[in-house]
């Protein structure tokens, strides 16, 4: 018999279950963290080889024959090693530098993707004969991994070693410009109306319910809207940043409205009262006092909305922004592709060399998103006003 009158024999089990429960919650947060770490590590590991690309030092002869049949520019031994895409640029090089004609230049040129994969010790399907040539070059130090400028400064290509993300980046920028041009003013105006001007009537309630629903509609349905209305009804050009931007704008609208409303609501009423006391009209108060105070908050919300739009793929696939775009678009009505869509396209390519490019593209987009979010958090911290 325990002398303690408050002794409860079940206490031991209760404490044990309490501990178990605590470990369960701790375990779930650890699972989330572990996943994030593993995911980032796995992506970085897959992406790292894409920073480097194999180059070989070979004799390139520029003459009439090699201008017509570009494979002839290098000796037969190296034909399987030098990139076909690079050889195709020979006529263009001759156009730019006519003095090259008739000369033979020993230079570093881009290597074929299979050779590249062999050097990175990935899966490859080189023949034994080619491998021995590569090994021979290796001994002479005439084959090496160099900084992969092609990836950052060229557009897409069907030849893996010549594929880059520039055209997709430009497409993304154009699309997001259109998105922000539409979504920012419309979103802020809606928020201002709902917070500062509206009375509690059926229209206001309808708009509010509607914004809540719009935020929950799957993004792919916005793609269906874009296809049916912007392309088929209005006849805007398919796969263009214009249509993509409009579609994304409608999708980003609820995010901007909700965050702008929160920013406007945090402006204390005394500001408005003071304005009325000085005889200002409602528009003047909102324009001159409420909006400037709420602006950092509105900007933060818009940047988060922008980051959201940047990573969106599904609606853009529906409106055809997964086209093969080797050259950067210059206007918003050109056919274009965006960064996530480019990742999607590369992920579907059969060649092994595209795997690292896909992962590298992912790292680029994650980096951009991270920067956007960091800017948003910085702005929020810097301009946060405690009333």
């Amino acid at each position: 018999m325990n002398p303690n009158p408050f002794y409860d024999p079940s206490l031991k089990y209760r404490h044990r279950s309490a501990n178990l429960f605590k470990w369960f919650t701790r375990g779930s947060i650890l699972f989330t963290l572990a996943f994030l770490l593993f995911f980032l590590f796995d992506m970085a590991r897959t992406a790292y080889p894409a920073l480097w690309q194999t180059y070989v030092k070979v004799d390139v002869s520029y003459n009439d024959k090699s201008a017509r049949m570009t494979a002839r520019a290098v000796s037969k031994k190296y034909r399987k090693i030098v990139s076909r895409a690079w050889l195709r640029t020979i006529p263009k090089q001759l156009e730019e530098y006519p003095e090259l004609l008739g000369t033979t230049v020993k230079q570093w040129v881009l290597a074929d993707d299979q050779v590249d994969q062999y050097l990175k010790e990935h899966h490859h399907n080189l023949k034994q004969k080619t491998i021995s040539v590569v090994e021979e070059l290796k001994i002479r130090n005439e084959i090496e991994l160099q900084w992969n400028a092609v990836f950052f400064f060229r557009g897409d290509s069907k030849i893996p070693e010549y594929a880059g993300i520039l055209s997709a980046l430009v497409g993304s920028v154009l699309t997001l410009l259109v998105t922000m041009f539409i979504a920012f003013p419309v979103g802020v105006m809606t928020a201002v109306y709902l917070e500062e001007f509206s009375r509690d009537n059926w229209l206001t309630r309808l708009i509010e319910v509607n914004i809540n629903n719009l935020a929950a509609i799957p993004s792919i349905l916005f793609g269906l809207l874009g296809l049916a209305v912007f392309i088929n009804l209005f006849g805007l050009p398919r796969s263009s940043p214009l249509v993509g931007g409009l579609t994304l704008a409608l999708m980003t609208l609820p995010i901007i409205i909700v965050s702008s409303r929160a920013a406007l609501r945090s402006v204390p009423d005394s500001i408005r009262q003071a304005g009325y006391g000085l005889g200002l009209t409602r528009v003047q108060i909102v324009q001159g006092h409420v909006l400037p105070i709420a602006f950092p908050g509105i900007l933060t919300g818009s940047i988060i909305g922008l980051a959201h739009a940047m990573g969106e793929t599904a609606p853009l696939i529906i409106i055809g922004m997964i086209a093969f775009i080797p050259d950067s678009p210059t206007t918003i009505t050109d056919a274009a592709t965006v960064l996530p869509a480019q990742i999607f396209t590369w992920a579907g390519m059969p060649e092994r060399a595209y795997v690292e490019k896909t992962a590298a593209g992912i790292m680029v987009i994650l980096l951009i998103l991270f920067c956007l979010n960091a800017v948003a958090i910085y702005l929020r911290k810097k301009y946060e006003i405690k009333w």
Partner: protein, 304 residues
């Protein structure tokens, strides 16, 4: 004179603000009608009854049949797996952050969840196809079970991870909104910390947690990129999560990126599936909102 001028300006500003607000309504109506018209056109060509109950989906043929049952089943299976991952982990994380974690740890964990929420779904899709799916095939191979490379399980797990932040962050807000007096009362009666959480705090926050889960469910159903990249294309009516299955969103994408004429039943079927998706997510969202409203009314909180 000046007064009328100002009034004109005021009216102009006000009406332009109303106009901007109406764009959001126009968008919803636009989505609804653009889907509805094409869906009606589809059901004029193909039977509605067979669409909801038929088990054969054979587009692109002379005598094509559009029975969406296996597609719904695949969607259901993948979302169910996703929720089985996301609800325990999401709610567990939320409980840890709101009840156990110190202020400092919480401040650290919240941004990490935001990072997870900000990862584009196309990235998750690539990760599912490149890392998770082969891992699952390997694990089951050692047990002597065959798994497909585009199994529903791989998609479901990754999709579950995608919606963890959705569930965790809303549940966390709700748990923190539960008044502290409830916790104090329970602790004063001699309950342990975890008993307080399990029997007092979580039941109080239940409407909010249900709302968060419904939101997660609606996100999972509408999710496209993960399933497009990691799930199958073949409509497959089975209970085995290791087989390949297809979902509503995969079929929508597949029928719209092909080279079909716009008025062919193959293309129009995408809009019929889109209509189902629209109605479903709308209902889920309404339910989710009504639950959260219930919570707000009970505890008179306005911050959610």
């Amino acid at each position: 004179m000046i007064k009328t001028k100002i009034n004109h300006g005021e009216r102009l500003v006000r009406s332009s603000l109303v106009l901007a607000s109406i764009i959001s309504i126009a968008t919803t109506i636009g989505i609804l009608f653009s889907i509805l018209f094409q869906a009606v056109e589809f059901f004029q060509l193909k039977s509605f009854w067979y669409f909801v109950s038929g088990a054969e989906w054979t587009p692109g043929q002379q005598d094509s049949r559009f029975g969406a049952l296996p597609i719904f089943a695949g969607t259901f299976m993948i979302t169910a797996i996703a929720l089985m991952v996301a609800i325990p982990v999401g709610v567990g994380s939320a409980i840890y952050m709101s009840e156990y974690a110190s202020r400092f740890r919480r401040g650290l964990l919240k941004p990490i969840l935001e990072i997870l929420a900000g990862i584009p779904t196309v990235v998750y899709g690539f990760f599912a196809a490149l890392t998770i799916a082969p891992a699952i095939v390997n694990i089951f191979e050692t047990m002597g079970i065959d798994a497909a490379y585009n199994s529903a399980l791989a998609c479901g797990i990754v999709m579950g991870i995608m919606i963890i932040p959705v569930i965790a962050s809303l549940s966390d807000d709700v748990l923190r909104a539960v008044p502290n007096s409830q916790r104090s009362a329970s602790l004063a009666l001699g309950m342990t910390h975890s008993e307080t959480i399990r029997h007092v705090v979580v039941p109080s926050a239940m409407p909010g947690i249900i709302s968060a889960s419904l939101l997660g469910l609606s996100k999972a159903i509408g999710e496209t990129m993960i399933v497009v990249m990691a799930a199958g294309l073949r409509p497959n009516l089975t209970w085995n999560p290791l087989e390949d299955m297809t979902t509503v969103t995969v079929r929508i994408v597949d029928s719209l990126v092909g080279d079909h004429a716009f008025d062919s039943p193959d293309t129009l079927s995408a809009f019929a599936l889109g209509l189902v998706l629209f109605v479903f997510t709308l209902i889920l969202n309404m339910l989710s909102l009504s639950q959260i409203r219930k919570f707000k009314l009970r505890y008179k909180v306005n911050t959610l």
